[in-house]
């Protein structure tokens, strides 16, 4: 597996969520994902970018265009240095929210992508990695 291209952008304020969606859209087209997979990846990115802004106090979205044999993939990493998630298992429960949300962001994002990993600890920030392959 090799990395074709990579980059990073800030997700600090609400407007950055829109910009993160735009970047995810551009890259998923470039990656060659089919339309429904583009839509799924952009939607997952939107959820995770919003979480980074609202709960993480802002962070970054790193992206990587990948190639693995004949397949291409897009990996997005959302990271912040916020308070972290005390109970990751609870946070990964459908419908659980600490705020006024629907509690669908994390679990929904996991369903929408091929690879999902969440690393978080209290005081150590949060890092969510998602990836979708052609």
């Amino acid at each position: 597996m090799s990395t074709l291209r990579q980059g990073s952008q800030a997700v600090a304020i609400e407007q950055d969520v829109v910009l993160a969606r735009q970047t995810a859209r551009k890259l998923s087209i470039e990656c060659g994902l089919r339309l429904v997979d583009q839509t799924k990846l952009i939607t997952a990115a939107s959820e995770l970018a919003r979480n980074a802004v609202i709960y993480g106090g802002g962070g970054h979205m790193d992206w990587e265009l990948l190639e693995d044999g004949a397949r291409r993939g897009l990996r997005l990493i959302f990271r912040d240095d916020g308070p972290g998630i005390p109970d990751v298992k609870l946070a990964m429960t459908d419908g659980w929210t600490s705020g006024g949300g629907l509690g669908l962001g994390l679990t929904g994002a996991r369903r929408l992508v091929d690879e999902f990993s969440l690393e978080s600890a209290p005081g150590a920030g949060t890092r969510v990695t998602i990836c979708k392959w052609t």
Partner: protein, 120 residues
């Protein structure tokens, strides 16, 4: 401030969402719409989302809220033009939008609204 325009068409209101809305813009639309429904006594609201290539949990929740709000104010909301890929994604995300009425396009949405109002 940036706003999504709300058009009046007889007893209906038409909203065409053409931009990728940030969360605050969506909240403003929700407030503007409830004000316009009560101000005009509109009986129906059409929300055209055919230009939206994604609907995430935030926009989904806004749509559900508008639909619920309008019912309380004696109006019906119909969401028109949802792209198939958006519909598939919404279901997988876990958002089923209960109580939200949908139609394929504005024309059908309008017909649906008229029928529903007549049968009341």
């Amino acid at each position: 401030m940036e706003r999504i325009p709300i058009l009046r068409m007889g007893e209906f209101l038409l909203v065409t969402i053409q931009v990728d809305m940030h969360d605050q813009l969506a909240m403003t639309l929700q407030d503007d719409l409830s004000e316009r429904i009560s101000g005009t006594g509109a009986r129906g609201v059409l929300i055209d989302i055919s230009a939206l290539d994604i609907v995430d949990s935030f926009i989904g929740r806004m749509i559900a809220t508008i639909s619920g709000l309008s019912k309380i104010m004696d109006a019906e909301t119909v969401v028109v033009g949802m792209q198939p890929a958006v519909a598939i994604t919404l279901v997988e995300l876990g958002l089923t939008l209960p109580g939200v009425i949908t139609a394929l396009d504005v024309e059908r949405g309008m017909r649906l609204l008229r029928d529903r109002l007549q049968s009341r």
